[in-house]
Symmetry: C2
Subunit: 341 residues, 2 copies
């Protein structure tokens, strides 16, 4: 419960002081009585599966005007709605098998929109090897809403939780960080395409089309002590992992992998480093690995064609993450996370 793809600026309700996490903590956590729900502290739930398998279940809703723009192409919306769930499954070490789709369409829906939406789903079904299992189609008096529940499988007891990080573990991320958050600024016109240069399209594409790291699932369940996917931002999600594991993490900011267009934008304006670290929507994997296994983890990730970068290590003390900018200098950021609620 909790994490979500999200593009728009936060609009916090004025009439309450509870944020999403407070709401979950106070009202929803007491309802999660099954052990496999992990008290809603993880990204997915586990239920008993066939033979020696467990079924991993992930649920994410995307809402027009909150998580996607009304003029995003239907295929992009479909892929984003599906992939944010596949990203959760991958982080737990599970391969996806199927999904349920609930789709609320406004009165102005067109058959053309639905046809293109379904083509987007079909393409991803082929890419990731899964089937639509069921769902629901309803009318929305407003905009489009899509709720997807994705199911994956893995051997019993092998799910990679948030809570397994231990002091001394190496901290890894996949791919590059911050592209989607910068892409959103380009999409919103807050960074001009001119300034973003030839990389602008790539950054926007990272925002529109998460790449779930499904190919890393097996490697993660072999070697990772803890993992989650980065949706709320590197800082916030590392804080979630540290809180669940009761540890701290020292991160070397200079090691955080940036794409070429992201690096150029950060060099031009250093304040964008905060966007990279807190912006969200990366849908890369953050994983901790016993230092003795780190080399094997890197080797297997490379064999799976998933780039991984070691950016720091887990330390003693439930202090959460500390980001070092070099020479022991701690990075001070004004925002520690991105919330999609």
């Amino acid at each position: 419960m909790g994490k979500n793809p999200g593009p728009m600026p936060d609009v916090r309700p004025a009439n309450t002081r509870l944020d999403e996490f407070g709401l979950i903590d106070r009202y929803f956590r007491p309802l999660a009585t099954e052990a496999g729900a992990f008290g809603l502290t993880d990204d997915a739930a586990l239920i008993d599966g066939p033979g020696r398998d467990e079924i991993v279940v992930s649920s994410d809703m995307v809402v027009e005007g909150v998580h996607f723009f009304p003029d995003d192409t239907p295929g992009s919306v479909a892929r984003k709605a599906l992939r944010v769930n596949l990203s959760d499954l991958a982080a737990k070490g599970a391969e996806p098998s199927g999904y349920l789709l609930s789709l609320a369409l406004p009165a102005s829906w067109t058959e053309n929109w639905v046809a293109r939406f379904c083509r987007g789903l079909k393409g991803d079904q082929t890419t990731y090897g899964l089937s639509l299992l069921g769902g629901d189609t309803v009318r929305s008096p407003w905009g489009t809403m899509i709720s997807i529940v994705a199911l994956g499988r893995l051997p019993r007891g092998r799910a990679v939780l948030r809570s397994g990080a231990r002091p001394g573990d190496a901290v890894f991320v996949t791919g590059t960080i911050g592209d989607a958050a910068l892409g959103l600024l380009v999409r919103r016109g807050e960074i001009s395409s001119g300034e973003a240069g030839r990389g602008a399209g790539r950054l926007v594409d990272r925002y529109l089309h998460p790449r779930p790291r499904v190919d890393l699932a097996l490697t993660l369940r072999r070697h990772a002590s803890a993992a989650l996917d980065i949706s709320d931002g590197l800082w916030a999600d590392l804080a979630h992992l540290c809180a669940a594991s009761g540890v701290g993490a020292d991160i070397d900011v200079r090691k955080i992998p940036l794409s070429r267009p992201a690096l150029r934008l950060v060099k031009a304006d250093g304040s964008r480093l905060a966007t990279v670290i807190t912006g969200g929507d990366d849908y890369e994997i953050l994983a901790t690995v016993d230092a003795k296994r780190a080399a094997r983890f890197e080797r297997e990730a490379r064999a799976a064609r998933v780039p991984v970068t070691r950016i720091g290590q887990i330390v003693t003390g439930a202090t959460g993450p500390t980001f070092f900018a070099g020479e022991g200098r701690k990075l001070q950021l004004s925002r520690t996370g991105h919330t999609h609620f």
Copy 2:
């Protein structure tokens, strides 16, 4: 895919001729490649479960202003959202075990609303013996939307499908039919509380609070050849069952069980019989049972404290349902169903 709780008058988009079923047929069915998805022709999907079990998965979304009124109490909204799913599971013969909740809340949400919503869920969790497994909380730029996926279990190969009805089978319904549809008319003021009399509250309650026939699950999977829950209306759902089974059904309208307040309203205005038969939101079970097992089915249902009434029989020929009003007179209705899309 398809069925849904729904109160408001249909508003069909003007720009298309496809209805919900056409949409599913053309665009979503081709995506349902897994056998357990039944080509989206059933109310739930089956996936492999532990040991000798299968897991039954049902998905239903309810939307403010479409499936519930903005001033319905949060507890009622919660119970309806959950119970329409439990009703699907029961019709398949499965006992519920858990659910995932995706909740989109408008900026005007209050902690009080959420607290009462969760109290509604908690009460039903206790009643029906299930746990929240996970989900997602997001912001809605408009009203409240709730998407629930419920999971249930049953022995492998024992799910009761829509497609198993055979000529000669007896047709049964649980409880009474039409209360919720008449209750909605009361709720909307189209039938005055005065006319509905002392039964008005009961009718509205039937509309607000479906009673999923969870206690009949075991009896259904022992004896029913086909079943579904009545959400789109007796006529439409019987037509779905007949279509999936390739059969017809002769129904004796005089045998359709009506509650006392419903009977009084129909006697006062015979046109309300159409509302009873086509109105939807009953969340009773429609089941077919081999005639030789009918007596045992009735006995076991009685032992499970679920009232069942035999209203007709399955006949040869894929002709769908025929409603007889007595002396071989066929009932002519102008609406054959209720759609919530």
